[in-house]
């Protein structure tokens, strides 16, 4: 059975096996091709803060102390 509706120019995907053997275009592709997708880095939330990791410069060492005083004294935003 043909699932293509000539008047609306759309495919009826609800009928059985209607996806088989067909290219199905993705509904969000055009938006993404315009740079209008939203990725994690694009999201801005109220009072959002950022995290910065400080990694150990030593391959194997015991953490004795973490000095946070300077970082805590920085302005929050």
């Amino acid at each position: 059975m043909s699932e293509f509706d000539e008047t609306t120019k759309t495919l009826n995907f609800d009928s059985p096996n209607s996806y088989v053997g067909r290219s199905v275009t993705r509904p969000n592709a055009r938006r993404l091709a315009q740079g209008r997708g939203q990725y994690v880095d694009d999201i801005v939330l109220p009072r959002m803060v950022h995290v910065a990791y400080v990694r150990s410069p030593h391959a194997h060492a015991k953490i004795v102390d973490i000095k946070t005083k300077k970082a805590a004294a920085m302005p929050a935003r």
């Binding site: 275009t25 969000n28 592709a29 993404l32 091709a33 315009q34 740079g35 209008r36 990725y39």
Partner: protein, 164 residues
């Protein structure tokens, strides 16, 4: 004086709109467009000029937004994916990308489209090899390049057919 916080006033044209901002001297163009102007279609991938996701046009030439400081764009004309979409300049390419499924997550796509448009402007009828070579600075980590080359080639052929 804290040099990190030192700001410079710049005036430039972005997507045909004049903008004036005070920016830190070390802010790169991609971050400026994304954070200052909220043009998040320009993506930041590798942050060192390898992946091409931040490709934008400055005075007609494509550049890596992450390798240029915002202050260097002072007085320049900058075009981003949003501008090229709104002016419909790359409509044909975008349609071809959708039709051939030349994108999956779409993260690299704005940069790829900027590069493809620059290629077709300078070389209207490139070979598949030439398209691949030109796009060697744009990384796609999901779709693979076959469909991307297909899409660009299709647009080039269609344009050549019309001008004949």
């Amino acid at each position: 004086m804290n040099t990190l916080l030192e700001t410079v006033e710049i005036t430039l044209t972005v997507n045909g709109e004049r903008v004036k901002r005070s920016v830190p001297a070390r802010l790169n163009l991609a971050d400026f467009l994304r954070n200052e102007l909220e043009l998040t279609g320009t993506h930041v991938g590798c942050e060192h000029g390898v992946c091409g996701a931040c490709t934008v046009r400055v005075d007609g030439e494509i550049v890596r937004g992450c390798l240029m400081f915002a202050v260097q764009a002072d007085g320049c004309e900058v075009d981003t994916i949003e501008g090229l979409s709104d002016s419909r300049e790359i409509e044909e390419l975008q349609s071809a990308f959708v039709l051939t499924n030349a994108l999956q997550c779409g993260f690299c796509t704005p940069g790829v489209l900027m590069a493809a448009q620059a290629l077709l402007r300078d070389e209207p009828n490139p070979s598949r090899e030439r398209i691949r070579e030109y796009l060697s600075g744009n990384y796609c980590r999901c779709t693979g390049y076959q469909a991307i080359v297909d899409a660009i080639e299709a647009v080039a052929r269609a344009r050549a057919g019309r001008s004949r």
